[in-house]
């Protein structure tokens, strides 16, 4: 396994939702930075991939966005998790925990 792994397939949306739930409104750069910080350098994130994910989540109405000003006085699009997004996050977090638990159980049983 490499020192910095790719983001596991299908988990970026969950990470974005969790980041917005924990940190409040953030722009794309802020979200990407936060994910990298939380992963403590273990994840190699192509930061550009955040934007298709944000669009996907916005289309599902799990997040909303509006223009604002960044900490460096730049015009930036800020994303906020919606009530539907929080529900989805809770559901996906449960599903993720169940999946991890199931796979762990399987691996432990095999060893």
């Amino acid at each position: 396994m490499s020192a910095r792994d790719e983001v596991p397939y299908g988990t970026l949306d969950l990470m974005v939702l969790k980041t917005l739930a924990a940190m409040g409104p953030l722009h794309g750069y802020g979200i990407a930075r936060r994910i990298e910080q939380a992963a403590n350098g273990a994840v190699a994130l192509n930061q550009g991939t955040i934007y298709p994910a944000l669009l996907r989540l916005e289309q599902k109405a799990w997040i909303s966005s509006d223009w604002g000003t960044s900490e460096n006085n730049r015009r930036a699009r800020f994303y906020t998790i919606t009530a539907a997004g929080r529900k989805q996050l809770a559901a996906e977090a449960k599903l993720w925990a169940r999946t991890v638990s199931m796979v762990n159980g399987l691996l432990e049983g095999e060893s």
């Binding site: 722009h27 750069y29 930061q47 550009g48 916005e58 599902k60 730049r74 015009r75 699009r77």
Partner: protein
């Protein structure tokens, strides 16, 4: 419910298309600026900071492409759907014009280069075979007239090609520039390959299926006499880079119609080649000046085959060739000049060869290896 939301959002995107595009561009720019500032704060130089920011961000075009694919209705925006759409349109168009299908696909791949690597491309190619076959069928009249000449050509050495001037001229006059150039070029390359003992050789041309190039032949040629811009050139290079070809063929491209500046054309090649994947094999490219009258085809075919630079005796213009972008593959001016024939009156001809970097300046050469300096002007003995 979520699916309905997504569908509604995609429909809304049809109306907001441009606004969404500019919004994404602005977001990307802000992101890059913030990343750059972060690196500057760590003590990087401005240039290094910008490069690092771009690297961390990843492929901007890919992001935009993915973003675009997620917007609008899939039937309109999916690459495969677009390909099919263009394909059907092209079939109708074929009734009026030749070459439409090939150009449509080239434009499509220029816009969606990722489609080349995806499964829809394979099925699209199958679909396109019908179109290309149809196009080929429409050219058969010309090809039929050319075949006897081509067969003769394959049995001749370069020194006697000029003797064919008469029949080639009349056949080419009916076929038009593209067909004439392509057929003469293909035939000449085959002839050259045999002549140099490099057989077997394979060749194909603009508008014809690329399958003949998917072989182990050491000498392969892709003639593409008609291209219009850098995007189209990128698509052609992508075709040459297709992994299924085992090794890239030599590209023979006509000089841009819209740009009479060779240095600019070379710079375009450099830019396109610089975007090729790291470690991609060297690419042989020959650029041919145009316009050329039909009576120039026999000479042009031979000249292309030999990758020569020879003076035009038709309009007082020189034919210029730029060979082997980014490498010293053409063995040098001496090698080229050795093939240049004497003028009919026996007088020596002024010849000039040009190589990568000379006309664009050393700082603008993006290739990893620069061509040997074989630029010189001399009169062959």
């Amino acid at each position: 419910m979520t699916r309905v939301r997504v569908l509604l959002s995609r429909v809304l995107d049809l109306a907001l298309g441009r606004r969404r595009e500019s919004r994404l561009s602005e977001e990307i720019q802000t992101h890059l600026d913030l990343l750059t500032e972060q690196h500057l704060a760590r003590g990087m130089t401005p240039d290094a900071a910008r490069v690092a920011a771009r690297r961390e961000f990843g492929g901007i075009d890919q992001v935009k492409e993915t973003y675009r694919d997620q917007r609008g209705l899939p039937v309109v925006f999916e690459p495969a759907a677009r390909a099919w759409h263009r394909h059907v349109l092209s079939l109708d168009d074929l009734l009026r014009r030749q070459g439409t299908v090939a150009r449509a696909y080239v434009r499509l791949f220029a816009k969606h280069p990722a489609a080349l690597a995806r499964s829809p491309f394979a099925s699209m190619l199958h679909a396109s075979v019908a179109s290309l076959t149809e196009e080929r069928r429409r050219m058969e009249g010309t090809v039929e007239r050319l075949l006897p000449v081509v067969r003769q050509l394959a049995e001749l050495d370069c020194a006697t090609l000029d003797a064919l001037g008469g029949p080639l001229r009349s056949a080419a006059a009916d076929g038009g520039f593209l067909e004439g150039l392509a057929d003469f070029g293909v035939a000449s390359f085959r002839e050259l390959a045999q002549w140099r003992g490099a057989a077997p050789a394979d060749a194909t041309m603009h508008g014809a299926p690329p399958w003949p190039l998917a072989s182990d032949a050491p000498f392969k040629v892709l003639l593409w006499p008609d291209w219009s811009d850098e995007g189209e050139l990128s698509a052609i290079v992508a075709l040459a880079d297709d992994a299924r070809l085992a090794a890239p063929p030599c590209l023979v491209l006509r000089f841009e119609r819209t740009d009479g500046d060779l240095a600019a054309a070379i710079a375009r090649f450099e830019r396109v080649c610089a975007r090729r994947a790291a470690g991609a094999p060297e690419l042989d490219v020959v650029v041919v000046d145009e316009p050329l009258p039909p009576e120039a085809f026999p000479r042009l075919g031979r000249a292309v085959a030999c990758a020569l630079l020879l003076p035009s005796s038709f309009r007082g213009e020189r034919h210029r060739f730029f060979a082997r972008v980014g490498s010293s593959g053409v063995r040098g001016a001496e090698d080229l000049l050795a093939f240049v024939p004497a003028a009919p009156d026996g007088a020596p001809r002024q010849v000039e060869a040009t190589g990568s970097g000379e006309e664009v300046g050393a700082t603008r050469v993006a290739s990893q290896r620069r061509a040997a300096d074989f630029s010189r002007s001399r009169s062959p003995a």
